[in-house]
């Protein structure tokens, strides 16, 4: 498992390629790779958003991410996991989060990737503050649920 917080913009596919290269011993065993990329949109709740800052809780954030990935590794048959999350100042179009799950079979990859994203959204201490085109700024109050009702 690799977990990274990045204060600078990251390129998701470079991260995945580096991860795959470091895990070359799994190459022939990987049958399924599920990747989720969350990117900053230029609108939210009906307003135009020009930038965002992402606050976190150094120490606790990393620890929660580790606990989430560890739980995924216990619940599904997973070869390896990469999680990268931005912190600091972010522009529309920038990747915010990258989750990569490598498995032998696709069901595990889909389930574990989604589990990690939902757990991250509800448990990992990150907070978004949006700067609106109207010059106002506001804290995002709640993450939406990722599952259909």
């Amino acid at each position: 498992m690799i977990i990274k917080l990045s204060a600078e913009a990251f390129e998701p596919f470079e991260e995945v390629k580096r991860f795959q290269k470091q895990q070359a011993e799994f190459a022939g065993a990987v049958g399924a790779t599920s990747i989720f990329i969350g990117t900053m949109r230029d609108f939210n709740d009906g307003d135009s958003v020009v930038s965002m800052s992402l606050e976190y809780y150094p120490g606790m954030t990393e620890r929660q991410l580790e606990m989430i990935v560890t739980e995924a590794l216990e619940r599904w048959v997973v070869l390896n996991v990469l999680v990268v999350h931005r912190v600091g100042d972010i522009s529309p179009g920038d990747p915010i989060v990258l989750v990569v799950v490598e498995t032998s079979h696709r069901g595990d990859a889909f389930d574990a990737c989604r589990f990690i994203m939902e757990a991250l959204k509800s448990k990992a201490p990150f907070w978004k503050k949006e700067q609106l085109a109207s010059q106002q700024s506001r804290w995002v109050e709640n993450n939406s649920k990722g599952y259909a009702p």
Partner: protein, 77 residues
């Protein structure tokens, strides 16, 4: 007894500081730490609490040297 209290995000802004150090003789619950630190009687329902970087509920007991963090719902990802 010394407790480090920390606030994050909108709570840090509304309280106007990022935390406080509490010291005293008695043993405290999370709820009591909140009251002593902020001067507010009730910890709002939607505020999350972590002790030493692990989530706890509002009835948890705090011991000497603990770091107690209060923060709003998380919005990462």
């Amino acid at each position: 007894m010394s407790i480090k209290v920390r606030y994050f995000a909108s709570l840090k802004e509304s309280l106007g500081c990022d935390g406080v150090e509490l010291s005293g003789a008695e043993s405290l619950t999370v709820q009591q730490v909140w009251s002593q630190a902020t001067g507010q009687i009730t910890l709002p329902d939607n505020i999350l609490v972590a002790v030493n970087m692990a989530y706890v509920d509002q009835t948890a007991e705090i011991t000497d040297g603990d770091e107690v963090a209060f923060f709003p719902p998380v919005t990462g990802g």
